[in-house]
Amino acid sequence: MSATATLPARRPTKRAIPGLGPTLGFSLFYLGLIVLIPLAGVFFKASGLGVSGIWHVITSERVLAALRLSFGAALIAALINVVFGSIVAWVFVRYDFVGKRLFDAFIDLPFALPTAVAGIALTALYSPNGWIGSLVEPLGIKIAYTPLGVIVAMTFIGLPFIVRTVEPVLREVDRDLEEAAATLGAWRWQTVVRVIAPAVFPSVVTGFALAFARAVGEYGSVIFIAGNFPLVSEIAPLLIIIKLEEFDYQGATAVAATMLVISFVLLLIVNLLQAWVRKRS
């Protein structure tokens, strides 16, 4: 018993890295202040409608069409970017060519450009009398003022997310690995499919999630090119604005809350997928 009396008064810390308490506390406070409280406000406002009221709003034909377009187009745009963004990243990592730095800077433009500028530029290009729009019109294809235009705009703004997340990971894939695969008899496509793709897959998933999330939330560039015909090319964020302008605050927040829930579930799924992939390697 007397031995315990000589123990130092201070409790030994269990962890080698100190500061868990304050940093975790700060993180939660910050997350709450910046993210959770405003979002909770959305749900609070929407709850004024009651469950049946919310259900009535979000099952209306127009809202359903808008949600379908927003998430569907975002999904397609993100998938397109997964394919072509990965190729762009590959080219940047593997090859040297004249003007590489310039191209490199161009990739980030969709990050920086005011979305309205992008929207106007895209509309000018893809409208029936624009450069590209006039080329495909004889084929019976309309891009601007259709869901196709929405996908084009969302693809535009999502590209840098894929390129910038895949690029550093691809850079880490050693030449050695490809050479090892070759000496073992693997042909080029086998090496790409079995060695390189699995190594960069987690980063592709991250890039996909970012591009998708951005596309779902995109407003400025899409509304110019979409034409915004109800039931056809009207995106959910625009519908929220329209409802706000009609002073239907509760209807607007009901749509907003729905988008929030869907987005959260999708991102959660992506994160779980990533955790699973990471555990395997």
Binding site: D176, A182, A186
Partner: protein, 383 residues
């Protein structure tokens, strides 16, 4: 499979990495490519594997001209310095990779692959670790997985790039011994690259010493160590003392000695450089062929003691290593006078750059040194 390398040249831009390599490698041989960095040893290894396209020359596997084969068709087992294991695959999948990428009609059945991989993992003493990922292995284990993966394709030749470079000293020693045993058991023609002379001498049957894209000497470990043909080889396999000496009347004299060290029948005449390793020196008493000097420093190195000596004639500093305790029970200390003579030595033309191209070709690559670059080999065994 025996391998012949014929007049192989390789440039990287203006850098001439391989300058006409000719080499015959016997079937089942364990060969070391030894040289400093930039000597072209790794380039040569990669050229054999087909990982570096050649500018000129041929690589023959037996009677097959490998130069016209792709990397995939050469069937070489290549073990990379950093192992290059596939991180997202288990040990099993890594080893099986070379079998599973084969076209369907050549691919062994799943059960056959499982058996082969199991056997190989037993061979490299990694049985039971099939399900591990590379990140869960130690350096030595990764090395052995890489080796098993290379052996899985039943390669024509096994090529190892600095196989022990990334391992700590103890593991390195064990693996060396183990690799030697594995080679004896499997009999694969094996070529490995190293910059560590000790590793080359301990592991290989034959050693190829390379410098600046050329082969300096090829020979058994005994040949290259005991009869270095060029100052470069002498310098690379140990840290020799270089002493001024003179050849006259068919004898070699050390500068400052009054009696000849040994008879000499080579073509050199006049001043020469005499190369002798620290352990080649013997302590002598009043030997007119030897050299007197003063001990400057003594240092214990295991069973030997290293003496730093300043010679009375010319004031040269040399380092010698003698058994400790000295057979004559003399305890050496700083300030003692001592007399030594080299028991084994080689003489080379004066000024042949030890770290340069000891070029037999008339095209001297280091102008400005003025003296003859013609290297004459003469390894005399005194006593």
């Amino acid at each position: 499979m025996d391998i012949k390398i014929r007049a192989v040249h390789k440039h990287y831009g203006s850098f001439h990495a391989l300058r006409g390599i000719d080499l015959d490698i016997e079937s089942g041989e364990l060969l070391a490519l030894l040289g400093p960095s930039g000597s072209g040893k790794t380039t040569l290894l990669r050229a054999i594997a087909g990982l570096e396209p050649l500018d000129a020359g041929q690589v023959l596997f037996g009677d097959i001209d490998a130069t016209s084969l792709t990397v995939q068709d050469r069937k070489v087992g290549f073990v990379f310095q950093q192992y290059a294991l596939f991180k997202h695959m288990t040990v099993f999948d890594n080893v099986a990779f070379g079998l599973t990428v084969r076209p369907k009609h050549e691919r062994p059945s799943t059960s056959e692959i499982a058996k082969r991989v199991g056997d190989l993992l037993e061979l490299v003493q990694l049985g039971g670790l099939e399900k591990r990922y590379p990140a869960q292995l130690s350096g030595g284990q990764k090395q052995r997985v890489a080796l098993a993966r290379a052996l899985a394709i039943e390669p024509r030749v096994l090529l190892l790039d600095e196989p022990f470079g990334a391992l700590d000293a103890k593991v390195r020693k064990d693996l060396r011994r183990w690799l030697r045993k594995l080679h004896r058991e499997t009999g694969y023609t094996t070529i490995f690259v190293t910059h560590d002379q000790e590793e080359a001498l301990e592991l290989a049957d034959r050693v190829v010493v390379m410098s600046r894209g050329r082969i300096e000497q090829v020979g058994s470990t005994d040949q290259v160590y005991d009869y270095p043909q060029t100052p470069f080889v002498f310098d690379f396999l140990g840290s020799p003392n270089v002493l001024p000496a003179v050849v006259r009347d068919g004898h070699v004299y050390l500068d400052g000695a009054t009696a000849p060290l040994d008879s000499y029948s080579g073509p050199l005449l006049g001043p020469v450089d005499l190369y002798a390793r620290p352990d080649d020196f013997r302590v002598v008493h009043s030997d007119p062929a030897g050299l007197a000097g003063t001990v400057v420093e003594t240092q214990r190195t295991g069973v030997l003691i290293r003496l730093t000596i300043t010679l009375a004639a010319g004031g040269h500093g040399i380092e010698i290593e003698i058994p400790n305790p000295d057979p004559e029970m003399q305890v050496w200390g700083a300030g003692d006078t001592i007399s030594v003579r080299p028991a084994h030595f080689s003489v080379f033309a004066v000024g042949t750059p030890a770290n340069g191209t000891a070029s037999q070709a008339p095209a001297a690559t280091t102008p400005g040194l003025g003296t003859s670059h013609t290297v004459v080999e003469s390894r005399s065994r005194g006593r």
